[in-house]
Amino acid sequence: MDLDRFLRDPLSRRRFFRMSGVSVAGGSAMFLAACGGDDTDTPATGPDESDAADVEILNSALDLELMAVAAYKAGAMLLKGEVLAVGRQFLEHEQEHADGLATAIKDAGGRPNRSKPSYDFPQLKSQTDVLRFAVDLENTAIAAYIDALPKLGKGDLRATASAIVANEAEHVAVLLGALGEQQVPDAFVVGKAA
């Protein structure tokens, strides 16, 4: 399976975007526009949103985090030296996100999803392949979290989801650096909706 197809395909990702119900902004220009005015297609939510809605969104996020954990594990064998250390560190971060989401889901009365027995990742043949795959996964997660953010009912969850977005963006900056690319290409980090 090629990378683009994979990123379009995962069930968890589709569910995540469907839950969010808003379209992703594709760049800083859109964000400049988005900051001002009309929000008719993205109604603000408040603390009255039900826990059940939060649980569904959080479980979709958990699916993505568990997939990221699996991806970093799968890619580790192709990484060397400092990049391997980075991969291990980011794997731990994704696991922390997953653990935190699972706790939040339980606190809201839900049952956390579990990791899948296997993931149909694209074939990775080199360290560069792993880095590019990781960049794409991280960007997809960023776009998904930003899309879903307004649908989370509780302010604390919105703040924490934002802290996860910021961490995933840090990962992207490090990974782009390892690829020899500009680490901070845009003033507004919106990820990439496949």
């Binding site: 988005a34 408040g46 922390e96 996100h97 935190g100 979290y145 703040a159 924490t160 961490n167 919106v190």
Partner: protein
Amino acid sequence: MVPPLVPRARILIADGAAGTAQIAEFERDRRELIRRGLGLGGAVIAASSIPLLLSVRNAFAATDNDADILKSAITLERTAVLVYGAAIDSKLLSEGFGEVARRFRDHEKEHADALITALTDLGGTPPAPPSAKDIEGLNDLKSQGDVANFAIELEMASLAAYYDAQGKLADAKLLQAGASIMANEAQHLVVLRQTVKRDRVPNAFETGAK
């Protein structure tokens, strides 16, 4: 390490009244920032600017009103533009780090412009711009390392402020823009930390906390 999805205690000052414990926490934060600011690189790094940054953070925490949060964010971003601008003019930076500082200054300017547009659309009026002289410690920076460490403090304070705001903003698009700006500031931190050889991504949850 931040406990997952357990909100950190924040400075919540409703209607101007703060509890003793909240004030004590704020003071701990302030003292810690000043201590670290003084300790970094053996230089006195802008201790006088730190209360300014914390006051902005406190302003975020003190309101649930989107327009007031935007005003505070505009001041924060304009402060960052001034700091990076002063760093660029300081002649302390290598060519490479100078390019980084210019890029980051431009990002902060883009944030400020977007936030001003959003505030204007809400019917608000942007606050008076801060002045470089409000950030007196900038003149105490003696090396590129000092600049990078100072910028780290600035970006961390900014992240902490946005983290506070994200739990309060009501407008969906502002929430999304806030997360997008937070993520950009976090990427700035990665580059700044690697400049001074610190762990580039020390925490799984980037909240601006240590």
